[in-house]
Amino acid sequence: MKIRSMAAVLAASVLLPLGAANATDLEVTHWWTSGGEAAAVAELAKAFDATGNKWVDGAIAGSGGTARPIMISRITGGDPMGATQFNHGRQAEELVEAGLMRDLTDVATREHWKDVIKPASLLDSCTIDGKIYCAPVNIHSWQWLWLSNAAFEKAGVAVPKNWDEFVAAAPALEKAGIVPLAVGGQAWQASGAFDVLMLALAGKDTFYKVFKDKDADMAAGPEMAKVFKAADDARRMSKGTNVQDWNQATNMVITGKAGGQIMGDWAQGEFALAGQVAGKDYSCLPGLGVTDVIATGGDAFYFPLLKDEEKSKAQEVLASTLLAPATQVAFNLKKGSLPVRGDVDLAAANDCMKKGLDILAKGNVIEWTDQLLSADTQKQKEDLFSEFFANPSLTPEDAQKRFAEIIASAD
C-alpha cells in the first residue's frame, strides 16, 4: 500500500510539470557575462520569450576557456542543454561527428539562410558533410586596436594612426605613467594579440600559408621573424598590466590607465556601457591601421540532439529567432559585433562599427584561427604566447622556433 501511494505521488510529480508546460523552457548556455555582453544576451532572451517560449539563462562566467569544458561535458555526459554558444569553426567539430548535435538543415532551407547570411564563409563553418549544424549570430573580428584618446592627450602625443606610430609613442606614454598596451593575463589574449599582429604585419597570404596550409617553413621564415619582433615590442609595452580578464584590461583603456589594447570588437560593448563615444573618447584602428582585413570569426548557437519533442520544436523556434532581422540588429548593437545578415539596416551603428561594415562590404575578410586550427593546436599556441608575454628571457628567436614546431605538428 505504502509503496503504491508513494509511486503515485512520484508519478504525479513527474506528470504535473509536463501537463502545465505550455511554454517550453529551453536552457541556453553561453559565456557572455561582462556588462556589455550581458546586455546583448538579454536582447536574445527577450526575442525568444516573445515567441511564447522561455529562455532559461545558463551563463557560465569566466570566458570561453572555462565555459566550453562544462558545456562539452554536459553534452557528452548525457545532460544536454537546449542550445549552447560556441565559436563556430572547429570547437564543436567532434561533437557533431559523434552525432550529438542536431542537424538544422531543414530550418536553414526554410528560412533561406544560404541567401541571407553574408559572408558565406560563416555558414560554411557551420556546415559539416553538407549539413548545417549551427546558427551563426554575429561576426566578431579580432583585428582592432582600441586607443584611449585621453591617455595620448595626457602624454602629449597625437593619437597614432597605425601600429608603428603606436610603438613610437610608447616611451611618451610610459613617461606619463601610462601602460602603453594592456594585455590581460588570460592565455587566449596573448595568443590572439599575436595573431592580429601577424595578419596586420605579414599579410593575408602568410597568415593562410601558416594557419591553413600548416607550412612550418613559412612559420620559421624571415616574414614571421618580423612578426615576432613586433610581438617583442608588444611584450615590452604591456609590462605592468597586472590584470587578468580582458574586460579589466579594456577598462584600463577606458579609464586612461593604458594607451591601447589589441582586442576583438566585443571590447566595444564595454566602451558603450561606460558611455564613451567612438572617435571622441576612444579611437579604433581595424587591422592595426596597417592591413584593412577583418576576420569573420564569431559566435554561433549549436543545438544538442534532444529526445523531448516539445524542446526540439522550441529549438527550431530559437534558431529562426536568432537570425531574425530585428534580433540581429538589437543584439549586435549591444554587443558591438557585426550582424550576419547582409540585408539589415544598421543606421544606429557607431563610427567603429561602420568601419567594420565597410571592410565587410568590400569583402576583405579572412577565416580566423578558430576556424582554421583545432582546439589542441590553439591551446599549445596559447601556452607559448602566454609564456612569451610573461617571460622576457624567452627570446623572439626561440619563441619562433617553438611556434614552427607547433605548426609542424598541427592538425
Binding site: 576557456g65 566550453r68 569544458p69 562539452i72 561535458s73 557528452t76 570547437q91 567539430e93 567532434e94 561533437l95 559523434a98 593575463g185 588570460q186 592565455a187 597586472n242 587578468q244 583545432s374 582546439a375 589542441d376 590553439q378 591551446k379 599549445q380 601556452d383 602566454s386 609564456e387 612569451f388 608575454f389 610573461a390 617571460n391 617553438r402 605538428s409
Partner: protein, 300 residues
C-alpha cells in the same frame, strides 16, 4: 563469532560473513571505479583520442609530446618546489605550534580555533584571499608603502621567478592548522609518565621532544604525511584561483595541465598521458614506502 569451529578453508571464507557481504559494494567500487578507471586511462593514453575517446593506438607519441612540452616541465618543477617546501614547512611549523599549544597555555581552545580556521576555507577562497593580499596595488605592498617605505616591493604573483612561493604561502596558511591539530592529538596521546620520567632523569625539554616524543609519535606522523602528500599531488584549485597558472605559464602544476589538455584543448590522449605520469610519480614514491611500512610487518 559465527558457528562452530570447523577445520579447513570454508570456515575462513564464511567467517564474519555479514561484514564481508556489507563490504562488497565498497570492494566493487574500488575495483571497478578506481582500478578499472585507472587501467582505462592508462590504455587510452596510448591512443590519439581527441574530444571523445577512440581506440586508435599511436604508441608513445603522447608521452614524447608531453616531455617535449615546456609547460609540462615547468609544471613538474613547480610541483617539486611546492611539494618539498610544503612538506618541510607544514610539518615543522605544525609541530612547533602543537608543541607550544601543549604547554598548558591559557585560551588553548581559542588559539586552536584560530589556527585551524583557515582549513575550513576551500582552496578557491584561500587562493582569492591571497591573490588580493599579494596584489601590489591593494595588498601588502601598498600597505607598507602607505606607511612611508616608498621603495618597498613585494609582488610575488607578478614575478615569474617567485610566483610559486606566493602559492606556497597560501597553501601553508591553509594547511598548517590541520597538521598542528593532528600532531597535537598525537602529543596528547603521549603518557604523562614519560614526561615525568624524563624530568626525573634531568633531560632538557627539547631533547625529550626530539628523541623520545617524536619517535613515539611515528604513526601520527605517517598519517599526517599521507594527508599532506596527497594534498600536494592534487594541488589545482589553489593555483587556478590565485594565479590561473600565470604569469605566463610560470605557476602551472601537473593537475592543471591534465585538465587543460583534456577539456580545453580537447585532446584526451595528451591529458591521459599526463595523468598517467602523475600516477607513475606517485607510485614510485608510495610503493617502496608502503612495502617497507606495511609489507615487512605482515611477514614478521
Amino acid at each position: 563469532m559465527t558457528g562452530q569451529p570447523h577445520a579447513g578453508r570454508p570456515s575462513q571464507l564464511l567467517r564474519n560473513l555479514n561484514a564481508k557481504i556489507a563490504s562488497i559494494p565498497m570492494i566493487l567500487t574500488a575495483v571497478v571505479i578506481f582500478l578499472g578507471g585507472t587501467i582505462w586511462t592508462v590504455v587510452y593514453s596510448f591512443t590519439n583520442s581527441k574530444l571523445l575517446p577512440r581506440a586508435k593506438f599511436v604508441g608513445f607519441d603522447q608521452y614524447e609530446r608531453l616531455w617535449a612540452a615546456p609547460r609540462w616541465i615547468v609544471s613538474i618543477e613547480n610541483l617539486a618546489i611546492y611539494g618539498l617546501f610544503t612538506l618541510v614547512f607544514s610539518l615543522v611549523i605544525g609541530f612547533v605550534l602543537a608543541a607550544l599549544m601543549d604547554q598548558k597555555i591559557r585560551f588553548e581552545n581559542t588559539f586552536r580555533t584560530i589556527f585551524l580556521y583557515p582549513f575550513a576555507l576551500s582552496f578557491i577562497v584561500t587562493g582569492l584571499v591571497w591573490q588580493w593580499i599579494l596584489n601590489p596595488e591593494f595588498g601588502v605592498q601598498s600597505v607598507v608603502r602607505a606607511l612611508g617605505w616608498e621603495s618597498f616591493a613585494f609582488d610575488p604573483l607578478y614575478n615569474s621567478k617567485i610566483v610559486i612561493y606566493g602559492v606556497l604561502i597560501a597553501g601553508l596558511w591553509q594547511g598548517t592548522g590541520l597538521v598542528m591539530c593532528l600532531l597535537l592529538a598525537g602529543l596528547r596521546g603521549i603518557d604523562e609518565d614519560i614526561w615525568k620520567a624524563a624530568r626525573v632523569d634531568g633531560i632538557p625539554m627539547w631533547r625529550t621532544y626530539l628523541f623520545i616524543v617524536i619517535p613515539m609519535m611515528r604513526p601520527v606522523f605517517i598519517t599526517t604525511l599521507v594527508i599532506i602528500a596527497s594534498g600536494i599531488v592534487k594541488v589545482y584549485d589553489l593555483v587556478v584561483a590565485q594565479t590561473s597558472g600565470g604569469p605566463g605559464i610560470s605557476s602551472e602544476v601537473p593537475a592543471k595541465y591534465v585538465y587543460d589538455y583534456m577539456f580545453l584543448a580537447q585532446n584526451l590522449g595528451q591529458g591521459f598521458a599526463a595523468s598517467t605520469m602523475m600516477l607513475v610519480t606517485v607510485a614510485i614514491i608510495i610503493v617502496p614506502w608502503a612495502y617497507l611500512e606495511f609489507g615487512g610487518r605482515k611477514r614478521a
